[in-house]
C-alpha cells in the first residue's frame, strides 16, 4: 500500500507569548520553538501502522522553510521512506488553496492508495488543505477521521462529529483522510533509526520544478492581538459575603 503524509512544521504556541513582527503580517519567529503539527504526527503514525500491516512505502511531504527538513527527517526516522520539501521561500504568500494546489503539483507523479493529512494545523487553523487537495486530486475524502480500516479496495473510516456522534463511512481507494488527534499513539524514533535517517536524501522542489502559476484566494491584511476585555471577577468567600458583593455590584453597574 502506498501512502502519502502531508506534514507541517508549526510554532509551539501553547505556552509562549506570540508577538507580531513589524510588517504586521507575520509573527516573530526568533523566540519560538517549532515542531511537527500535532495532528500530523497522528497522521504519520497512522501511515506507519498501515505500512506495517500491508507493506508499501510512505512518502512525506512538507511545504515549508528549510527548517521543515528537521520535521521531515524525524518522519524518516519513524518509518517514512521518501521525503519531499516544497521550498516555501520560493512561493511567496500562501493560503489554504495555494498550499493545496502546490502540494498537488508536487505529488502528480507519486502514486498513492491513502493520503493522510492532519485535520488542522495549529498555527493558522484553516481546516482546508486536506479537502482542497482531495478535490484537486479527484479523490474522495473524509475529515475529522478517528479510525481507519482498510479491506481490499475499500476503506472504512469513522468520523468524529459533535455531540459524541460517530459517522461510519465506506470509501473507495485512493482516498484522502484528514486525521484527528488521539487516533493512535505516535511512537518515538529509535536512536538507530535516527542515525540512519540523518543521511537520507530529502527531495527539494522549488520554483523551477513547479513552474505553473499558483494563486491565493485570500490575502492576509493584518494580524493583531485583540484588545483585552474587562476581566471577569471570580468571587470567593462565604455565601453571605458573595451575595453581598453581588448585590453591591449590581447596584454599582446601575442594573437596578
Amino acid at each position: 500500500m502506498d501512502l502519502i503524509v502531508c506534514l507541517k512544521r508549526v510554532p509551539q504556541t501553547a505556552e509562549a507569548e506570540v508577538q507580531i513582527g513589524p510588517s504586521g503580517k507575520e509573527i516573530v519567529r526568533d523566540r519560538l520553538t517549532f515542531d511537527m503539527n500535532e495532528a500530523d504526527s497522528y497522521a504519520l503514525e497512522e501511515a506507519i501502522l498501515l505500512k506495517e500491516k500491508f507493506g508499501g512505502t510512505i512518502t512525506v511531504i512538507s511545504l515549508g522553510l528549510p527548517d521543515a527538513e528537521d520535521t521531515l527527517r524525524i518522519a524518516l526516522a519513524k518509518g517514512a521512506d521518501h521525503a519531499i520539501r516544497i521550498k516555501a521561500e520560493d512561493f511567496g504568500e500562501l493560503d489554504g488553496f495555494k498550499t493545496a494546489s502546490l502540494l498537488k503539483d508536487a505529488l502528480v507523479n507519486v502514486k498513492f492508495d491513502v493520503l493522510l493529512t492532519g485535520c488542522v494545523a495549529t498555527d493558522d487553523s484553516l481546516y482546508q488543505v486536506g479537502p482542497v487537495l482531495a478535490e484537486l486530486l479527484g479523490a474522495p475524502h473524509a475529515t475529522l477521521v478517528g479510525k481507519i480500516e482498510i479491506a481490499g479496495e475499500k476503506a472504512h473510516v469513522n468520523r468524529e462529529l459533535e455531540g459524541g456522534l460517530i459517522e461510519h463511512l465506506e470509501m473507495s481507494l485512493p482516498a484522502v483522510f484528514a486525521v484527528q488527534t488521539g487516533i493512535n499513539e505516535p511512537r518515538y524514533a529509535s536512536l538507530i533509526a535516527i542515525r540512519r535517517a540523518a543521511g537520507k536524501e530529502i527531495k527539494l522542489l522549488g520554483k523551477d520544478d513547479i513552474p505553473s502559476e499558483h494563486r491565493v484566494n485570500s490575502t492576509l491584511e493584518k494580524l493583531f492581538v485583540p484588545p483585552a476585555g474587562k476581566r471577569a471577577e471570580i468571587m470567593t468567600g462565604t455565601a453571605d459575603e458573595v451575595s453581598a458583593r453581588t448585590a453591591s455590584l449590581i447596584k454599582e453597574k446601575g442594573l437596578i
Binding site: A16, E17, D30, R31
Partner: protein, 378 residues
C-alpha cells in the same frame, strides 16, 4: 581544542604579537597613564583595528569569533590596550558599518577600519547611564545642519578620537523613539572636551567628557534615519557585549596565568604553593570558570556569525565573564599574598582593570534584566 584551524592560527598570531609587543608595556602604561599611540599603529598594521569589517571597507574581512579572539588575546596582555581595541572596533566602527550609507562608509568607515583614525561612542551622560533612553543631549535642525547641545561622560578614547558617534534626542517627549545617532568629527566648532577621568584601573586608556555647545554638523552626518538612534545603539551594545566579555575573559586569563606562575615559583615552609590545597582549589575554580566564560563568548560570537539571535547569549557572556573575571582577579591577588598588593606583580592591576567590565556597556544588573526577560519570554 575549542577552536578549529583558521581561528586557532589567528589566535596564535595575535597571541605572539601580544606577548612580544603589548605585554611588556602593560605595567608602564598603568603607571604613567599614557595612551599607547604606537601600539595603535601596530594594531593597524596587523589589521586588528576592525577584524570583522569586510576588506572593501578597510577591515580584515574575518568573523565575530576572530574579533572576540583578538580582544581576548590583547587583553590577556594589557587591559588598557584591550579596551581601546574593543571600544574602537565595537563602538566607533560598528555603528557606521551597521547604519551608514555607502558615502558615509567611504568617508568614515574606511579610515576607522584601517586604524588611520580613532573612533569613539558617546552614549553615557552625567545623569544617564543604564537608562540610555533618557538621553538629555539634544539635536535640532537649523537650515542644513543639526545643532547638538549636551554633555557626554565616560567616553572611551573620547578626547583623542577623530570620529565620534553621538546619540541625541530631537524630541524628549517621544522617549527612545526621539533618539538619533550622529557622527561628529574632531575639531567641529562647538565641540570641546572636559577633563579626562582619573580611574581605578585601565590607566592606559583615555576616558573623556565631551561637551557640545551649539555644535552644528552637516545633515549628512545623521546615521540611519531620524529616530533610529535607539535601534543603532542597542545593536551596537549587543555586539559590544561580546567584546567586553572577551576583554573580561582576557584579563581573567591573565590573572590565572599570573597565579599559576607565581604558585609554581614560590614556596611556603618549603612546600611549593601550587601543592597546597587552598591554592589548588582557587586555581581549579578560576580555570573552570574561565573555560566556561570562553565557551559562552565563543558561542555568542558563533551565533552572531550564523545570523541567529544572540542577544541573550551576548548578555550571558558579558555578565558571566565579568563576574568570574573579577572573582579570578581577586583570587590571583590572594594567591600572591602580600605580593598581590604591590605593583611589582601584575595581580593588583588586573583586579583594578577587571572591575570596569562589570560596569561598562551595561552593568551586571542590566545584563541580568536582559537575560531574565528573554528567559521569561517577556
Amino acid at each position: 581544542m575549542i577552536l578549529q584551524s583558521q581561528h586557532k592560527e589567528f589566535q596564535a598570531r595575535v597571541r605572539r604579537f601580544a606577548e612580544q609587543e603589548v605585554a611588556p608595556r602593560a605595567r608602564e602604561l598603568d603607571r604613567t597613564g599614557e595612551f599607547p599611540h604606537d601600539l595603535v599603529k601596530r594594531l593597524a598594521e596587523l589589521q586588528l583595528t576592525a577584524v570583522y569589517v569586510p576588506k572593501e571597507y578597510g577591515g580584515a574581512g574575518l568573523d565575530t569569533l576572530h574579533y572576540a579572539i583578538a580582544v581576548e588575546e590583547i587583553s590577556r596582555s594589557c587591559g588598557s590596550t584591550g579596551i581601546f581595541l574593543a571600544a574602537h572596533s565595537s563602538l566607533g566602527v560598528f555603528p557606521i558599518f551597521f547604519a551608514g550609507t555607502e558615502e558615509q562608509k567611504r568617508k568614515w568607515l574606511i579610515p576607522l577600519a584601517r586604524g588611520e583614525k580613532i573612533g569613539a561612542f558617546g552614549l553615557t551622560e552625567p545623569d544617564v547611564g543604564s537608562d540610555a533612553a533618557a538621553t538629555r543631549t539634544t539635536a535640532r535642525i537649523e537650515s542644513d545642519t543639526y545643532v547638538i547641545n549636551g554633555t557626554k561622560r565616560f567616553i572611551t578614547s573620547g578626547s583623542i578620537a577623530d570620529v565620534i558617534i553621538v546619540t541625541a534626542t530631537q524630541d524628549p517627549s517621544k522617549g527612545y523613539k526621539g533618539i538619533s545617532a550622529f557622527v561628529v568629527e574632531k575639531g567641529t566648532p562647538g565641540f570641546s572636551y572636559g577633563k579626562d577621568e582619573e580611574k581605578l584601573g585601565l590607566h592606559g586608556s583615555i576616558t573623556s567628557e565631551l561637551v557640545f555647545e551649539d555644535c552644528a554638523i552637516p545633515r549628512d552626518n545623521l546615521l540611519g534615519s531620524e529616530g533610529d538612534g535607539f535601534r543603532i545603539f542597542m545593536e551596537t551594545l549587543d555586539g559590544g557585549r561580546i567584546s567586553i566579555g572577551a576583554l573580561a575573559l582576557g584579563i581573567a586569563q591573565g590573572a590565572l596565568d599570573a597565579a599559576v606562575s607565581f604558585s609554581k615559583a614560590s614556596k611556603r615552609s618549603g612546600k611549593p604553593l601550587y601543592k597546597m590545597q587552598p591554592v589548588q582549589s582557587m586555581i581549579a575554580e578560576m580555570a573552570t570558570e574561565i573555560e566556561a566564560a570562553r565557551l559562552l563568548i565563543y558561542h555568542a560570537a558563533a551565533l552572531k556569525d550564523s545570523g541567529l539571535p544572540y542577544m541573550k547569549e551576548a548578555a550571558m557572556a558579558k555578565y558571566y565573564a565579568s563576574t568570574i573575571g573579577m572573582k579570578a582577579a581577586n583570587m590571583a591577588v590572594d594567591i600572591h599574598g602580600l605580593c598581590g598588593v604591590t605593583d611589582a606583580y601584575p595581580a593588583e592591576r588586573l583586579m583594578r582593570d577587571e572591575k570596569l567590565m562589570e560596569i561598562g556597556e551595561g552593568t551586571s544588573e542590566i545584563q541580568k534584566i536582559v537575560i531574565a526577560r528573554e528567559v521569561l519570554g517577556k
